[in-house]
Amino acid sequence: MATSSERSPPPFPDSEDQYVLDSEEVGGRDCDEEDGEDLFMSAIEPPLTDTTLPTASQTSDDLLKPPSDIMNNPLNEPASGQTQNKPASAAVSEHSDDFIDLTNNVVATLKDATEISLDEPSDDFVDLLGSETEPPREEVVLADVSVEAVMGKSEVAGSDTDSPGDGKQEAKESSPVPIIDLSESSSSNTQQPPGTDKVFDPLADLLNDSPLITDAKNPRSTTTDPFIDEGSDLFSEPWQTKSAKQPQKSLFGEPDEDLFGEPLHTISKKTLNKEQKNKPVTTKAAADDTINITGPLQESKPVEPADLFSEEAVASAPSISNTSKASAVNAKTNGVLSEEDTDIFAEATVELSLDSPRTERKKEVIDKPSATALSLSAAASLTMPQAAALEELEEVEEEEQEDKFDIYVSVKDPEKIGDGMNAYMAYKVSTQTTLAMFRNKTFTVRRRFSDFLGLYEKLSEKHGPNGFIVPPPPEKSILGMTKVKVGKDDSSAADFVERRRGALERYLQRVVNHPSLLQDPDVREFLEREELPRAVSTQALSGAGFLKMINKATDAVSKMTIKMNESDVWFEEKLQEVESADQHFRKLHTLVESLVIHRKELSLNTASFAKSAAMLGSAEDNTALSRALSQLAEVEDKMEQLHQDQAANDTFSFAELIADFIRLLGAVRGSFDQRMKAWQRWQDAQAMLQKKRETEAKLLWANKPDKLQLAKEEIAEWEAKVTQYERDFERVSATVRKEVIRFEKEKAKHFKRQIVKYLESLLQSQQQLIKYWEAFLPEAKAIA
């Protein structure tokens, strides 16, 4: 072992560099998931080889060798029983064992290393690390998670998203940004808590020292239980966590992947290392406490670490202070963990030394039974994230449920009612549903266009201020409607009516698919009630319309004057995204419209050419050629129809889809505006409160007790308002966030569906085209 460790140090630096590069590359790649998987695979493979060949030379890389050695050693010594069990599962198990050992010994160093490593790999990591660093427990947890994750990788069970969740949770604790990531990965979050639990368990197992384990178990009864059961299964759990890591990657998106990617690269043997690192971190947390506990591990570790960690270990050692061995182990583990990590570790070690406060905290925690401390801290850290995760999960579930509402609304049979300029279009709105809230399973009502607008007015008035994205109906079109009213059976009028019908149908469908809007009595009334009071305010030229215009104008002005210093990066980014998307969609829409125009033109021109070709055919005095020409005319005739159909497809499948999204993006912006308004209200109230307080102070100074009472009451009133408004703002923010996420999901779904549909229509027309020309070809060949 000693020799191996000695050898290992030199190779590591090189390998580290390489790894770092790799990690960077990975980060650069967008599709990290795949890479990550590959990495995992590779990581897994090497471990296996390691298991078979303890010398680690199998992996070929120098780096690999050292880790493998380390792994083997630690595994054999500390976890021997466990490791043996695990080997069967795979090389991974070995790694995990190693990690465990390392973690035990190294814990302290590991923490540092993990922190460092995390920072380097990616922001997310940093966050994670940060969180870890702050709460030692968290770090420990992370380490565990990572270890587990490694294990999981080998298993690739994928069942556990837990580890990611943990990471997320930690991240949340550490900083808001990480939280965001977590929230995005919401689904994983829910799983996270268990993962963390698992992590703890493994640690506990690793620690072997009953106190730690028991403590850990106690705080998180659920987690502990699994661990206990798993007992020897510790490895298996860790494996799960590994799988969890993969999920995490996906959840976190790129950053996670990057992180993983790096680890993975390193992992090839280093995944293990990373895991180990993580473990070490955990162990560190524990280590401070645990060092003593991990005695056995320490023994094995000290030798290796000494080489690998060297500097780092030293640095960490002081902070940890618990055991030089532990630090050494940690260092080793770090080196083992990954070459990249070593750099990280170097930093980490520095951090550790700097972190003395942390360590102190840890120590404090440790003061209690180290294991308990760890578990507790972990539990504490976990609980927060878990709670968040749970919330998120609930949301996700909710959303999913929402999407499953069994209701289908169709808008059919547009019919012109009345004559002249008083004419209007009425549509048949049919609903099919199994929801209990409706009296019947199917019902149909007749609604005119302004009813649709009226519904929107009501909904947006009610739900808009709360931050809901109320799906907007198609705009009023005086030009289009005039054409219809004039009543020419011209195709553009029919086109207009069909467009509008489709847009109305999609609008209603969106409304009823929205979980909150469906509950609205107005929606139900709209769908069910025979007669609806006439919506007057929707008329463009009515008094109400005029008022609305003024309102809009004042809104626009106030929007310009409100200077919101956005505290939430998420909202800022989303708003920017929405705005640029809006711009691009608009551009795309004009382009598609122009495609439609050109396609129609093409259809028209094809028709006239078909006619000319037919005439030319009749003029031709060569019989075969004449025949071929008239055949050509027929083909062109069919092509005309094809182009016309395609133009319709362009319109209905593509242009309308984009138009819908432009409208929806407008609604999204509206919800952002509502949030801003809520913020403004809150700020105003705060300013007001401030003023009131100042008056109070003045009164106090002036010694006017009579007015003082009044002032105090006012302050109380405004304080209540401020809290109220603040809560409102938070609520609106939460709703907007939820709605935007929902919107994005819907957008992706709709877009994919519609585009696929559109492409299928293109496909069909190409098939027709082939058929036509194939029929023509023999005719052309028959010309003699």
Partner: protein, 407 residues
């Protein structure tokens, strides 16, 4: 030279397939005289064609030589044929149309002006498009001029023309100038007189059923072909703009894809890629329709005009002959200037018969040539359409497969 003449006659119709150039007439030049345009250079508003000749004819100093010619010199050659009385009985190969780069040059200029208002990708894309368009027009122009030379070279009589040989061999500027205003005016009046005369002459009942039939046929055919050519041009133009739209949609989708933060971005990029490819195919479809259909129609528009001109010359000769007959009758009745009238009558008769004789063969050749050219082009058109449609279909299928796999 003389002995070679016999070789070509019946071979007009067979294939002449050289490279991608649009040759709408099927000609075979035998080895004794092969003409092609090996190079062309666009200088400002002038296009300089390098005319390359390979010949074993004894009246050329060398076996292989090249000269640089401009469009005006082609026109001069054509006009010299038209004005030569000896060729009245032949369908004079139609002169190539004037190179017209104005439209695409204008567009290029506009593009330069609008450079600031579009993104870099859009600009480069537009530029590439325009350059491709310019190149296409250029190639087409070259092909048209080449076809003219090939037709002349393949003609049993015209290939022996001295002017033609000078055109091919004289390695300096022929110093033909564009027509000046006076000449243009004269041309205009000549045309007016000719068409007025054509109407008069057309009213004359032909003694020969073959020519009578050809006359009515050509009149109608010419109008139809004119119509079809214009319509096909329009159709192809709108096809091209549709392809351009698709192109722009593709780049717009691409920007959306790069901007989008959700997993939709890959979707956008994929669709953008598809559109980009579809656009290429659509553009190819339009270009091939242009080449195989519109150019064919355009060529036969001019060729049928040349055939009509031949018929006019024959009818003119016929009228002259009849007038000469009348004059002879008169002279005999008055017994004055009989000899002179007789000579002129014989001259007219001879001329008319000569024209009729060669015209008949020319018209028959015209028809065979036309049928062969249409066959070739229509078959190619159908094949290309099929090829493109299949390519497009495959593209859509694979893209749909990927997209559905993703969702």
């Amino acid at each position: 030279m003389m002995q070679e003449g016999l070789d070509d006659g019946p071979d007009f119709l067979s294939e002449e397939d050289r490279g991608p150039r649009a040759v709408n007439v099927d000609l075979q030049t035998d080895a004794t005289l092969q003409v092609d345009i090996s190079d062309a250079l666009s200088e400002r508003d002038k296009v300089k064609f390098t005319v390359h000749t390979k010949s074993t004819l004894p009246n050329f100093k060398q076996n292989e030589f090249s000269v640089v010619r401009q469009h005006e010199e082609f026109i001069w050659l054509h006009d010299s044929f038209v004005e030569n009385e000896d060729y009245a009985g032949y369908i004079i190969p139609p002169a190539p149309p004037r190179p017209d780069f104005d439209a695409s040059r204008e567009k290029l200029q506009k593009l330069g002006e609008g450079e600031g208002s579009m993104t870099k990708e859009e600009f480069t894309k537009m530029k590439q498009e325009l350059e491709a368009e310019y190149l296409a027009i250029f190639k087409k122009t070259v092909a048209m001029h080449e076809v003219f030379l090939c037709r002349v070279a393949a003609h049993p009589v015209l290939r022996k023309d001295l002017n033609f040989h000078v055109f091919l061999e004289y390695n300096q500027d022929l110093s033909v100038r564009g027509k000046n205003k006076k000449e243009k005016l004269e041309d205009f009046f000549k045309n007016v007189v000719k068409s007025a005369d054509g109407v008069l002459v057309a009213g004359v009942k032909d003694v020969d059923d073959f020519f009578e039939h050809e006359k009515t046929f050509l009149l109608e055919y010419h109008n139809r072909v004119k119509d079809a050519s214009a319509k096909s041009d329009k159709m192809i133009r709108s096809h091209k703009s549709a392809a351009d739209d698709i192109n722009r949609i593709a780049s717009s989708l691409y920007t959306l894809g790069t901007q989008d933060s959700t997993d939709l971005c890959k979707f956008f990029l994929k669709v953008s890629e598809l559109f980009e490819k579809t656009r290429k195919i659509e553009a190819r479809v339009a270009a091939d329709e242009d080449l195989k259909l519109a150019d064919l129609l355009k060529y036969y528009l001019r060729e049928s005009q040349a055939a009509k001109d031949l018929l006019y010359r024959r009818s003119r000769a016929l009228v002259d002959y009849e007038n000469a007959n009348k004059a002879l009758d008169k002279a005999r009745a008055k017994n004055r200037d009989v000899l002179q009238a007789e000579t002129s009558q014989q001259l007219c008769c001879h001329k008319f018969e000569k024209i009729s004789e060669s015209a008949k063969q020319e018209l028959i050749d015209f028809k065979t040539r036309r049928v062969a050219a249409f066959r070739k082009n229509l078959v190619e058109l159908a094949e290309l359409e099929l090829k493109h449609a299949k390519g497009n279909l495959q593209l859509l299928q694979s893209c749909l497969g990927v997209l559905k796999g993703n969702t």
